[in-house]
């Protein structure tokens, strides 16, 4: 089993600081967050520029170059609904440290992003949903198969499709959590890559509760075989849990200072 892959989520236009920095092409706040996430163990950085309908292409290229030039060609997840911006970003993307990830496709309106990945030799995050929340794992698996078939038909390697089981909020969909974990196990048993944005599960919970929920769910998902997660690497408790899970699953050798690595 390969090491758990962490995609840092903090360069996201939902954050007012980042939104402003993107709008003004202000490098400092973006570089600061990028460095903090990489120092804490992120492998990939997610670059979310929002819908970016107006200047998406130019903005994505600016962001890709900014991050890769400053951080030794760090691999990136290009996160926007604007397809042209994704293609523009890939044009200037340096692959020496890993392929770009397109974030994201689904089995519905965004199916075309799988084609985009195939045409650009990229990885694609494929959400196992079509419209709204999948009813059950049968439905999740049906979408997964549809996307897998579509992607492979276009020549995409199955290891370049990272399936997202769709994390559901616990407050309101508590009864769906076990199925969510079971689906990760199914993907793992099929030898497919999986990825999840796990912090969605604790949405709406009090601030002091969220870190505990996030880290416990992450540990459980890793045990089920989750390959990657989009998360906040600057949440030390969460990262400590990830590192400990890796030790317990014997994917990394224990040393007394393992939490410092």
């Amino acid at each position: 089993m390969d090491k758990f892959i962490i995609i840092g989520e903090r360069i996201h236009c939902i954050s007012p600081v980042i939104k402003e920095a993107l709008a003004n092409r202000d490098e400092a706040p973006i570089l600061e967050r990028a460095k903090a996430q990489l120092d804490s163990g992120a492998t990939y950085l997610d670059l979310n520029i929002g819908p970016a309908e107006r200047d998406g292409e130019e903005l994505m290229q600016w962001g890709v170059k900014l991050l890769q030039e400053n951080f030794d060609n760090v691999p990136l997840a290009l996160d926007t609904a604007n397809q042209k911006a994704i293609v523009a970003g890939i044009e200037v993307y340096n692959r020496s440290k890993g392929k770009p990830i397109i974030n994201s496709a689904d089995a519905g309106d965004r199916l075309d992003n799988i084609r985009l990945a195939a045409e650009n030799d990229a990885i694609v995050i494929a959400l196992c949903s079509k419209q709204g929340v999948p009813r059950d794992n049968e439905e999740r698996m049906q979408y997964c198969q549809e996307m897998l078939e579509y992607g492979m038909g276009l020549g995409l390697d199955e290891s370049d499709m990272w399936f997202d089981p769709l994390t559901l909020v616990i407050k309101g969909m508590q009864e769906k959590q076990v199925e969510f974990l079971e689906f990760i196990r199914q993907l793992s048993d099929m030898g497919l890559m999986s990825v999840a944005g796990l912090s969605n599960a604790s949405n709406g919970m009090p601030k002091e509760v969220r870190p505990t929920v996030d880290s416990v769910l992450t540990a459980m998902a890793i045990e089920c075989g989750l390959s990657a997660a989009i998360l906040n690497p600057n949440d030390k408790h969460l990262m400590d849990v990830v590192k400990t899970a890796e030790v317990i699953l014997n994917r990394t050798l224990y040393a007394d200072s393992y939490l410092e690595l």
Binding site: L253, S257, E260
Partner: protein, 313 residues
């Protein structure tokens, strides 16, 4: 059906370490395959063989060893002679006289001896500790100072004394060090982490994962070396990627097979041959487990192991 090879190479590799003075340096490590798996990918650098001498001189009761060192009486002469042994890649000095449980020679004197040896040697030099953390903490920094410009490896930086040794040897005098743990895979990693946290870069330290003679709890050592190597490559764990140096001579020549006289055990044959065989079997097993360098005492063992390596790489 034709055979289709399926090479098992790794994205990560063992770090390279070079030691010895400019123009005479050797490099080892660098490989990205399991030991001797030359069919998977070319081995970057062949494992090295060191020849060990002691400040107390060779055991002249062993006829072939006495003949090899015949006429070499001073430590400088012994060092120069050792360098002529076929197959020897580096010289290893054991400062036995500095052992506090023996003659307890002052560290300054011992460091001066190390300098003498380095000056007489045409091969890169490695200096072993005296198996006493307090004495090593005092001795090795002095050796590091005395050997300026020699780019030597100083072994035996342990959990208890690595800080002073690392600072003096690497930071102040540009030598390399050996991080020593006693057959403990977790401690081996931890020690490397601690050394790295002092700002010592990869390429400046090797690992000494412990020692033992074949038949004497050796499987613990072999499996430790093997597990370290596999984790270094398959998990891309850079805290386990320095090359491993295994001193074999000390243990191989201290076990019953190498010590009891032929008079007491006539059916075992000559003592010298037994010692050589202990060295060869232990060293071959260490190399097969993943050691990147071994240290042997007898020129016959050195030659045999060097030939084994040359045939396999």
């Amino acid at each position: 059906m034709t055979f289709k090879p399926d090479p098992q190479t790794f994205a990560s590799s063992i770090k390279e370490v070079s030691f010895g003075p400019e123009g005479a340096a050797v490099t080892f490590g660098g490989s990205n395959v399991l030991p001797f798996y030359a069919f998977d990918a070319p081995i970057a650098h062949k494992p090295l063989v060191g020849i060990e001498i002691s400040d107390k001189g060779p055991d002249r009761e062993l006829p072939a060893l006495a003949a090899f060192y015949d006429g070499a009486n001073t430590l400088s002469e012994i060092a120069a002679r050792a360098c002529t042994a076929p197959g020897a890649d580096f010289l290893s000095l054991k400062l036995e006289g500095a052992d506090p449980n023996g003659d307890n020679m002052p560290s300054d004197e011992a460091a001066a001896l190390a300098k003498e040896v380095a000056d007489a040697s045409v091969l890169p030099l490695l200096v072993q500790g005296v198996d006493n953390v307090d004495k090593d903490a005092e001795l090795l920094p002095k050796v590091a100072e005395a050997l300026q410009g020699k780019n030597a490896i100083l072994m035996s930086a342990k959990e208890e004394n690595y800080k002073g040794i690392a600072v003096a040897a690497v930071t102040a005098y540009g030598q390399k060090i050996g991080a020593e743990s006693a057959v403990d895979i977790n401690l081996a990693k931890q020690l490397n982490v601690l050394i790295a946290q002092m700002g010592i870069q990869q390429g400046n330290y090797v690992m000494h994962l412990g020692n033992s003679a074949a038949g004497y709890g050796f499987e613990y050592l072999a499996s430790t070396i093997e597990r370290v190597k596999i984790a270094a490559l398959s998990q891309n764990d850079d805290a386990l990627q320095p090359p491993a140096v295994t001193p074999v001579a000390g243990d191989a020549w201290s076990v019953k097979e190498s010590l009891v006289s032929e008079a007491d055990f006539p059916e075992w044959g000559p003592r010298e041959q037994r010692g050589i065989e202990m060295e060869i079997s232990t060293a071959a097993a260490c190399l097969a487990s993943g050691s990147d360098a071994v240290i042997l005492r007898h020129p016959s063992s050195v030659e045999t192991i060097a030939k084994l390596i040359a045939e396999l790489v």
